[in-house]
């Protein structure tokens, strides 16, 4: 293996400045998953991204918690060039995904009652 780090340009993946589609999020998730499962570190670069919605982040990042722990992600996944005003959105998506995958059934029961 010649590289130990895989860089994903979100601008390139979504073909523009807007990360708004679930399909694009799913595509990014698969790339991250493929790299992490091959013991590569991953850098997600959000340079030039001006619009992000939760549907994209749930698919691209939230979904990672179905397979990886926080520790694994902290060690192996790096997020670059996120605009300051978008940071809370990432935090919300991560917080929700963690709760969701810690105990999916319990979480649903919790929110349904």
């Amino acid at each position: 293996m010649n590289v130990d780090k895989y860089i994903i340009s979100i601008y390139n993946e979504v073909n523009g400045d807007s990360a708004i589609s679930v399909d694009d999020g799913e595509k990014v998730f698969k790339k991250i998953d493929q790299a992490l499962s091959n013991n590569l570190k991953v850098e997600l670069d959000f340079q030039n991204i001006n619009l992000i919605i939760t549907a994209f982040l749930n698919a691209a990042i939230g979904q990672l918690y179905s397979k990886y722990s926080s520790e694994e992600l902290n060690n192996n996944l790096k997020l670059l060039n996120i605009k300051q005003e978008d940071i809370p959105l990432f935090q919300l998506v991560i917080e929700r995904a963690k709760k969701y995958f810690e105990n999916p059934q319990g979480f649903e029961d919790d929110v349904n009652n």
């Binding site: 979504v14 073909n15 523009g16 807007s18 708004i20 589609s21 679930v22 399909d23 999020g25 799913e26 001006n50 619009l51 919605i53 939760t54 549907a55 749930n58 698919a59 939230g62 979904q63 918690y65 179905s66 926080s70 992600l73 902290n74 996944l77 997020l79 996120i82 300051q84 005003e85 940071i87 809370p88 959105l89 990432f90 935090q91 919300l92 998506v93 991560i94 929700r96 995904a97 969701y100 995958f101 999916p104 649903e108 929110v111 349904n112």
Partner: protein, 302 residues
């Protein structure tokens, strides 16, 4: 030939949506007919609602009916020509000199990038459109896309209809943007998700289902797809209440509204709308910035 009289005023309120729910239920029963929409008595039709009318009339035309629109007053005709709605009904388009419309569109669900480019153009380049702060414009586009994305994920339908109208003479000036899908209703999705269907009857009412869907982090996304959800509407509600705008949702027999005083109101219709309508009213006289609250904005920790 069947003539349907349009009422004097059709606004983005419970009465306006009630009329549209009745209209689709009436039209749904018609096949192989000549249907005339007679606007003679109508002096006010809020142009953003052409997103709903367009969805209804498309469905009606698909049932092998011809649809004609007649007797429009000058004012209504102008506004519906300017937003291109009437282009499919034998009228020419008309330039929007005062930049008050966000054009009527029917998009396939995969065209989200095109819509983003379209919205950018519609919200930035118009000279007479109010100068929105970058933060407000971004939040408006984000809200529209969260709703659009909800329709794509949950509606399971072919097209999404949208239209926006800027009302400069209202106090405060407002932008209404309406998004419609004719797919699964919120009532059906929530009843299926919570397994509340008993003997073929959905036991959760339309209003209760919408209330559930807009509360907390609830989502009807199937768990097996492993993608968490339920944040989009929550974020829009937070933004709209700061912005002192309004959100209205119509789905099946349920009507839900959150108004500028953050009060929720629910009502039922006698019949069901076979899809979901979301209308968001943005207050454009708003100089604040809308960054989400965050305790730490230094770093993102997984």
């Amino acid at each position: 030939m069947i003539v349907i009289k349009i009422p004097p005023k059709v606004c983005s309120d419970y009465e306006g949506f009630s009329f549209l729910v009745k209209l689709i239920n009436y039209c749904n029963k018609l096949y192989f007919n000549e249907i005339i929409l007679d606007f003679e008595a109508n002096t006010w039709f809020e142009a953003n609602l052409t997103a709903v009318l367009g969805a209804i009339l498309d469905k009606t035309r698909n049932n092998i009916n011809n649809v004609k629109i007649i007797n429009l007053t000058n004012r209504v005709e102008e506004s519906l020509r300017k937003n291109n709605f009437l282009s499919s009904y034998g009228f020419d388009t008309m330039p929007d000199k005062h930049d008050t419309t966000i054009k009527y569109r029917r998009n396939k669900i995969e065209e989200d990038r095109l819509i983003k480019e379209f919205l950018d153009v519609e919200l930035i380049s118009k000279q007479d459109f109010p100068k929105l702060s970058a933060a407000l414009r971004k939040e408006i586009i984000k809200s529209i896309f969260e709703i659009y994305s909800n329709a794509v994920i949950h509606g399971n339908c072919e097209f999404i209809y949208s239209c926006g109208q800027y009302y400069p003479s209202k106090t405060p000036p407002r932008l209404d943007f309406t998004i419609v899908d004719m797919g699964n209703t919120i009532k059906k999705n929530v009843n299926d998700f919570l397994k509340a269907n008993q003997n073929g009857v959905d036991t959760i009412l339309g209003t209760e289902a919408i209330n559930w869907a807009v509360s907390g982090n609830n989502t009807t996304k199937p768990k097996e797809n492993n993608i968490p959800g339920g944040l989009g509407l929550k974020l829009i509600k937070e933004f709209i209440s700061l912005n002192k705008g309004k959100i209205q949702i119509v789905s099946a027999d349920g009507y839900w509204e959150m108004n500028k005083d953050k009060k929720n109101e629910t009502k039922s219709f006698e019949e069901e709308f076979p899809g979901t309508i979301v209308n968001i009213e943005f207050n454009l006289d708003d100089k604040d910035f809308y960054y989400l609250k965050s305790e730490t904005i230094e770093d993102i920790i997984f």
